[in-house]
Amino acid sequence: MLPLDLSGLGRAGIDLAYVVTGFCFGFVLEQAGFGNARNLAAQFYLRDMRVLKVMFTAIVTAMLLLFGADVMGLLKPGALYINPTHLWPGIVGGIVFGVGFVIGGYCPGTSIVSLATLKLDGLCFVVGMVLGMVCFGETVSRFRAFFETSGNLGELTLAQVFGVPQGLVVVLVVAMALGMFWAAERIEAYFATR
């Protein structure tokens, strides 16, 4: 039954599983070209939509595997952590993240991938990110109320918001992703010549 119980591996074995998983994740990001800021920033200029394609492929794949495991009774009910929805902090965080992404050319994970391939811009981004984390950590008490209570909607899923079955949400997200892939190809073709 999923998630797998790794306790039999011991402390060192579990740590090794984290390292292997992290390595595989970074390897896939690098293979997708996400260790290069030009590829990532091109998303915002609509010339290269690989970020959208890779991310939505990952979402659809993970969603279908998780939902399939649930349907087949392989997923332990309740084991899946649903991140609570904090509406306004999510909006503010999304804007900050997006602005940082288009200016720096990376998001947190891809900057680490870039650093792993010894890119200078990746190093600068990681240093800036660490400094930002320190500043945030030192000042978070001033706006803790905003982060913890503003727009706190609890553990919310799309099925709950729209009052439709989970299965229908899965079908709609797959259809949406396919529609976006189709549109992305046309947008790329249009902007590549401009």
Binding site: L64, V71, P77, G78, G109, T110, G167, A177
Partner: protein
């Protein structure tokens, strides 16, 4: 000739449609898949908690105790533990769950343990991991806190002791003293503790990559 892309797109959409069709979200359906493993746990004493421990936990907000009473409405109106909420077994089986958090400790209550055991199975199958049965049910509670004259040994006993064996002169609900006993009654009383309260660690979410 179909391209690989179109095949992959068709497989994803077709797979999603098939999963939607065969998906059964009701706890009763989920229970069928996990029945044998859950029944082993149901047979253990670890999930049965003593009335004294329930009373003790009810005074500790960190326990996040939720009492679900599975008895009929008339039995519930006759007497119920203060703070408990009545739910029907049929509603639970259909997925009509009361508002509960995964962090709540849910104690299911029936006259004995029959309906409570069924509710335990349904809630566990629905993904609630901190579900317990009130040991001895309302009968056990009344024996522990109501004093003589309420629990009637002479009334007929049915399987799992789930038929009512108590008498009240009127429908008192939670107005009877035994519904909300003074915690002082626990002084000097020993009972097996099944729940160890730990300081919860805040869960962290992952990043986007």
């Amino acid at each position: 000739m179909l391209s690989t892309r179109r095949l992959a797109a068709g497989a994803a959409l077709g797979g999603a449609l098939v999963l939607w069709i065969i998906h059964s979200p009701e706890p009763a359906s989920r229970l069928a898949a996990r029945q044998s493993s859950l029944e082993k746990k149901l047979a253990s004493e670890e999930i049965r908690i003593d009335p004294a421990e329930v009373l003790e936990l009810s005074y500790n907000p960190a326990a996040r105790l939720k009492l679900l009473d599975l008895r009929d409405e008339n039995e519930y109106n006759l007497f119920h533990i203060a703070g408990s909420r009545r739910v029907g077994l049929e509603a639970l089986a259909c997925g009509d769950l009361p508002p509960l958090s995964r962090d709540d400790r849910v104690v299911v209550v029936s006259n004995g343990e029959g309906r409570a055991a069924k509710a335990w199975l349904l809630l566990s199958a629905a993904g609630f991991e901190k579900v317990y049965i009130l040991a001895g049910g309302i009968h056990g509670w009344l024996k522990a806190f109501a004093g003589p004259g309420v629990f009637d040994e002479g009334m007929p006993k049915c399987p799992f002791d789930d038929c009512r064996r108590y008498r009240f002169d009127a429908a008192l609900g939670d107005r009877h003293p035994a519904a909300d006993p003074d915690p002082e009654v626990l002084t000097g009383r020993t009972f097996p503790r099944k729940i160890e309260l730990k300081t919860p660690r805040k869960r962290v979410s992952g990043s986007c990559g």
